[in-house]
Symmetry: C2
Subunit: 426 residues, 2 copies
């Protein structure tokens, strides 16, 4: 039977989960996968943590050199996170010809070229299913499940923290602040929740997934990003009236104008499959030219779901020696001649506060019309105090710049101001 030796770098939540899965399933993988996977080394600052997991002392390495020179180690699993020592250790492993399996989205997003070069130069594999959407095999699907397709669109709920918060706000009527606190209490959100709630985490993942879907490097700098900290109960209530749920969507599209990549709170029509993705669940909705629509749904985080993705990569690496560069193929084409479309098309929801006088609404619609923006739906609420009215609109599909222009012009009217702009997916 083929023997594969592993090293695990980092024994935090995911590292511990991965070790647990590997030890619990060792015989199962021998039987079902024909491969004997053993953990030969771990590297963890907190030695007690390793011992508590039952790892024999002689397997606890003192430094990365020990790991990458160990001839019994074939595959190095990196679950440290960040781009400090993780980057250093991953490069050391690749340079020593060890295949790397990582869950590190920031590292893969920011340094994929460097890692790819090192892997290629030393005939090592590089796998990162666990970097995006936890246990959901979205990367395997993009590489080997729908690769016959031109992918035209990808829309994902790929951050569990924000989906949990938005679900709480929508179903429980909670404020953003109170839902965030609950998420922190449950361990879904970190003490400093910025990376999740402001969409950075989703932007990393979107950069990686779009690079694979569109066969070219999609740098993080191209991803437009807007978080959920500005979402209010008024947004949610208006959405419900209009038949929408609010979700933080990561959207990647390839159109004739180029690649568009963006993360923002979005009104999603209530009967869209993504609207039913609640709590901390994640999902990615892919459209391909042959397969049409495909959605993958599951747990986007957690020790065991993420560990499942890591171990699935380990087994794949152990049983498919060929084609380990499947993610590298377009490396050279990454930056040359690729167009990114900043002025993308979308439908929009606008909430406008205006003086409640004859002619004001006509002025607004005239500005919209002169920017080629047509209306799909109008909901007008008259508020008594101060003679102000709140007008809620949903536009047909139009360009982002057209909306920007129209919003500036409406705000320049003394009688009206745009209070909220949200993108809409039907």
């Amino acid at each position: 039977m083929k023997k594969v030796g592993l090293a695990i770098l980092g024994l935090g939540v995911v590292g511990g989960g991965t070790y647990h899965i590997l030890t619990e399933h060792r015989e199962f993988y021998q039987k079902t996968q024909g491969v004997d996977i053993s953990v030969e080394n771990v590297l963890e600052i907190n030695r007690e943590r390793a011992l508590a997991l039952g790892i024999p002392e002689e397997k606890i390495a003192s430094n990365i050199a020990e790991v990458v020179t160990n001839p019994d180690v074939n595959i190095v699993v990196e679950v440290i996170g960040g781009v400090g020592v993780a980057r250093e250790f991953v490069l050391a492993a690749l340079n020593a010809g060890k295949t790397v399996v990582t869950s590190n989205k920031e590292l893969v997003c920011k340094y994929s070229h460097e890692l790819e070069h090192a892997a290629k130069a030393h005939n090592a594999g590089l796998y990162f299913e666990a970097s995006c959407v936890g246990g959901v095999p979205i990367i395997r699907t993009l590489l080997d499940g729908v690769q016959a397709n031109h992918i035209t669109s990808m829309m994902g709920i790929i951050n569990g923290t924000t989906n949990y918060i938005l679900t709480k706000m929508s179903n429980g009527g909670e404020s953003y602040e109170s839902a965030l606190k609950e998420a922190q209490r449950l361990g879904y959100a970190e003490a400093d929740p910025t990376s999740d709630v402001e969409g950075y985490d989703a932007a990393y993942k979107l950069s990686i997934l779009s690079s694979l879907a569109f066969h070219t490097k999609v740098p993080l700098s191209e991803v437009s990003r807007e978080g959920i900290s500005s979402v209010t109960q008024e947004d949610i209530a208006d959405g419900k009236k209009l038949g929408y749920c609010i979700k933080l969507l990561a959207i990647g599209k390839q159109t004739k104008d180029g690649i568009e990549v963006r993360v923002h709170p979005t009104f999603v029509k209530a009967d869209h499959p993504l609207a039913a993705v609640n709590d901390s669940f994640n999902a990615v909705y892919i459209t391909g030219d042959s397969v049409d629509d495909v959605m993958l749904y599951g747990r986007g985080a957690g020790a065991l779901p993420t560990g499942s993705a890591i171990v699935s990569d380990v087994i794949f690496a152990a049983t498919h020696a060929e084609n380990k560069y499947s993610t590298f193929k377009n490396e050279e084409k990454a930056e040359k001649g690729v167009k990114f479309a900043k002025d993308y098309r979308s439908a929009y929801y606008l909430r406008i506060s205006a003086t409640d006088k004859t002619g004001v609404f006509a002025k607004i619609t005239s500005i919209l019309g002169s920017n080629n923006i047509s209306l799909d739906e109008v909901l007008q609420k008259v508020s008594d105090e101060n003679d102000r009215a709140t007008i809620t609109l949903v536009t047909h599909e139009t360009h982002e710049t057209a909306i920007h222009n129209a919003v500036s012009k409406i705000n320049a009217l003394e009688v009206a101001s745009v209070e909220r702009v949200l993108r809409v997916v039907s």
Copy 2:
């Protein structure tokens, strides 16, 4: 660049779609997959059909021998269907050392051992993603996406025809007969709809998917099967009152009692992700011991979605020469020592017609109680005419045999009869 020559056997809907995808995307696959895939032969009784697709005359083979002796053909795509010539041609291809990609669920379900032996003996690959759930990469996911898991449960809506009919009956209030006619008019159902509506099609697919998920051959003969032709508007109305949708589910589970495999109309709780799978869409909901719940959703049929699965298999076969026997590993263990659990556990819905007299309900609950069946919910409707009452129950989880026994005993009471039994998934 690696060159791969294909033969397509059968140019019906799926064969035509496959040819279309391959010719439209040839350059795209060269660029993105590093492989040049050309169609070197087709085999089709209706020569005109081949010519109409623009296939050059010299590529139209006259018989299977011509195809399997063609040194330019590496991969044979079989999309004829059935177990007559399809079986003969697939065996001829495998025996000639050609890798086979097939969409033929009946063939894979009934003859997997024979095909596997031939493939192994001649060092050929065998791929059949397109045999189950159209363009949805469920087989790739089971083999290479969640293979780190003990799969404990799989629940699928894997027949588009029946899902279309049940959606029409649920949303439009149509009768079974009228919804079936509509499905036939749209080409979703065949003139003889038996294979779809009686669950045979789903049973083939469940046999294949369970064999992969549970790492042992699950023969068709072990699959319990009940179709949707008996579903009435009364079932749908009762379901709605109790908060359920009705779906034809294919369920595979591995419990301590063995493997259970069954296809039947099922009440699915309205907030379950499978409840939102409507019209001709398909979905498979998998539970693994590490990954927890994962769902794949998409088009279960159609020329291009099924063609997408075929071409994805072709590309995978062309770019992963190793491990092409991944589906064969447990071949030898198929029949020995595997337990199948016929007496599975489920929650049940019962509709009982009874004489509307004191003591009758007590008799019924006493029979249920003596079979260890406890009640989750009771809905009693009193009907005026003839002093009959209809009692609707949902039980907690219990054994199938317990329900059978209880139903026999209730029917033996002169005062009550069980009119409907449906399994329930929360």
